[in-house]
């Protein structure tokens, strides 16, 4: 399927060393990229006149426990002008689950990054307010990790001081 997509071609052309692999399975254009220049890549996707991905629709983590690298950060972008979508994925190692924040590219991605931190323990370097969002500060662990037992109990908390 590669070579059909304008978006993926453009991305490969601009960042030949950063794009690890691409696919368009099920009609969803997808690129796996390295994490080092992720902010630059995302800013390019937003600003390039052929791409114009103005919307950061979604960001989440995935835990592929048992694989190396273990974690994946997944961005879903949408372009209002071009009516196309792309999925950008970055793999992160278990002992270093750190990636640069994209808040400077889309302010709306702020809370998605907090949720990925909350649920998977992925650290977004440079994030202005990286704290738990759905869970409470005293919660231990990151519940969407595959090694977090579904039935695990957490200590009950009282009112804040």
């Amino acid at each position: 399927m590669s070579g059909v997509s304008v978006v993926l071609d453009r991305l490969r052309e601009r960042f030949p060393g950063e794009v690890v692999s691409t696919h368009s399975n099920f009609g969803d254009d997808t690129a796996l990229v390295r994490r080092e220049r992720i902010v630059e890549i995302l800013a390019f996707l937003r600003d390039d006149p052929e791409l114009l991905f103005g919307f950061a629709m979604d960001l989440t983590g995935v835990d592929y426990l048992g694989e190396t690298p273990r974690f994946e950060v997944v961005y879903h972008l949408y372009s209002l002008e071009r009516k196309h979508r792309v999925r950008i994925k970055v793999r992160l190692h278990e002992d270093d689950p750190v990636i640069d924040t994209a808040v400077s590219v889309w302010p709306g991605i702020d809370w998605y990054e907090r949720e990925a931190w909350d649920m998977y323990g992925i650290v977004f370097r440079g994030h202005p307010n990286l704290k738990r969002i759905l869970l409470y500060e005293a919660f231990e662990g990151h519940p969407l990790r595959k090694d977090y037992p579904k039935a695990k109990r957490q200590p009950t908390i009282g009112p804040e001081e």
Binding site: F26, D28, D58, V62, D63, H76, K83, G108, W111, P143
Partner: protein
């Protein structure tokens, strides 16, 4: 005439109060509707800063889904946006069908359009009705509750439940439309719904009190709305005509004639106007969809995805085995990842699904439309009055079920 009293000194520093006041709104406060909480920093009645907090309704939807079969996830999706659960059912079923490469029947596509648009109407009615309650206009709420009840009767007839519908199945629906259902649907769509919309319209749209109260409350520019990831009526009220029913037509939306209303200022008044017009457009779609509703089966003919008929289960061993495997192991979905988005009542409802093959999902991420909208609340109300927070919050229509998951 008395001069207005200026509480500030000429230097512009507050005279009566030396420090900004921090107050807590919610999580159980009648005007926050759901379990939402705000830390507000106020100077008098002006909001200097606002920090939203949520998660009180977090049930671990995604964690639960990872331990369920594909079909068992459907009832969980009811609890996302519980004001229009049928739309969540449709969104989820479409995502899994994309992964399986299933093309559902023509009849099913039309039925899904009809139930989605019905849901959109009642969702907007709840939004406008409760928004007006907060602003002290209770009558509109009752005017909208009447048609909403009629729609719930139709939904109950359709799937046996009013709220927790779980109507769709992978590859179809749990049952076809009951006999005479479309006639009763049309009677409601031509009778009580447009009547009540007209009543509320007459009470509000040219009501000077309402207009002055809501115009300019919580505005947003198109540029900011896009940057914050707004979708749905809140984005369209800011003047951006993004609607997936037109931009990425799914099901059979490209066969209908309907318009996408947009606003200009992106304020509470525009959000109200957009929702009112969307309800009328949804009625247009339902009329056209019922007129063109094809016959034939509602489910695809594929034993890999749908339960065998009861007669099969009771009378032969293959049917019984299929039924058992279907329930115990779940339908077998190929490995892969998809993102599927639909235009729900509040905006883009996306499902990102990862499958590694087998009977259940490896990961499901819901992109709830409320999430970026709630994030944008401080942007909407900073510098405005605390009373406007209540007006804005209602007009943005935050549903904690899908916000917290």
């Amino acid at each position: 005439m008395a001069e207005p009293v200026d509480i500030r000194t000429s230097e512009g520093t507050p005279d009566l109060q030396a420090e900004p006041m921090r107050i807590n709104i919610g999580p159980s406060h009648p005007a926050t509707h759901a379990t939402l909480r705000f830390h507000a920093t106020l100077d008098g009645e002006t909001i200097l800063d606002l920090e939203p907090e949520f998660g009180y309704l977090h049930r671990g939807f995604e964690k639960e889904s990872e331990a369920a079969t594909w079909t068992q996830v459907i009832p969980y999706t009811d609890r996302l946006n519980y004001v229009s659960p049928l739309m969540n059912n449709v969104g989820y079923a479409m995502a899994v069908e994309k992964l399986c490469g299933i093309e559902i029947t023509e009849r099913c596509k039309y039925v899904r359009v009809i139930i989605s648009e019905l849901s959109r109407i009642i969702d907007h009615m709840v939004c406008i009705g409760t928004n007006m309650v907060d602003l002290g206009a209770l009558t509109n709420f009752w005017y909208f509750w009447k048609p909403r009840e009629e729609v719930y009767k139709l939904i109950e007839e359709l799937c046996g439940q009013r709220l927790t519908t779980a109507y769709t199945r992978i590859g179809g629906a749990m049952a076809d439309l009951p006999e005479g259902w479309t006639d009763r649907l049309l009677a409601v769509c031509r009778g009580v719904i447009p009547e009540c919309i007209a009543d509320v319209n007459a009470l509000l749209t040219k009501n000077r009190i309402f207009i002055e109260r809501t115009m300019g409350a919580g505005p947003i520019t198109a540029k900011d709305a896009v940057a914050l990831g707004f979708t749905g009526p809140c984005l369209r009220a800011a003047g951006v005509p993004l609607d997936l029913r037109k931009d990425e037509p799914y099901l059979v939306y490209d066969r209908f004639d309907f318009d996408i209303p947009i606003g200009e200022a992106g304020d509470t008044c525009d959000r109200y106007m957009v929702r009112m017009e969307e309800m009328r457009q949804s009625l247009r779609i339902i009329e056209q969809a019922v007129a063109a509703l094809p016959g034939g089966p509602i489910n695809i003919d594929d034993p890999r995805f749908l339960l065998p008929a009861k007669a099969q289960v009771y009378e032969n061993i293959e049917g019984l085995m299929n039924h058992f495997k279907f329930i115990m192991e779940g339908i077998q979905v190929p490995a892969g990842e998809v993102y599927s988005a639909t235009e729900a009542a509040n905006g883009e409802l996306g499902f990102y699904i990862v499958s590694r093959g087998g009977g259940g999902p490896y990961k499901i991420k819901v992109r709830p439309p409320c999430f970026p909208l709630f994030q944008g609340i401080p942007h909407l109300v900073k510098g405005q009055m605390i009373a406007d927070l209540i007006a804005v919050l209602g007009s943005v229509n935050i549903i904690a079920g899908e916000l917290d998951r």
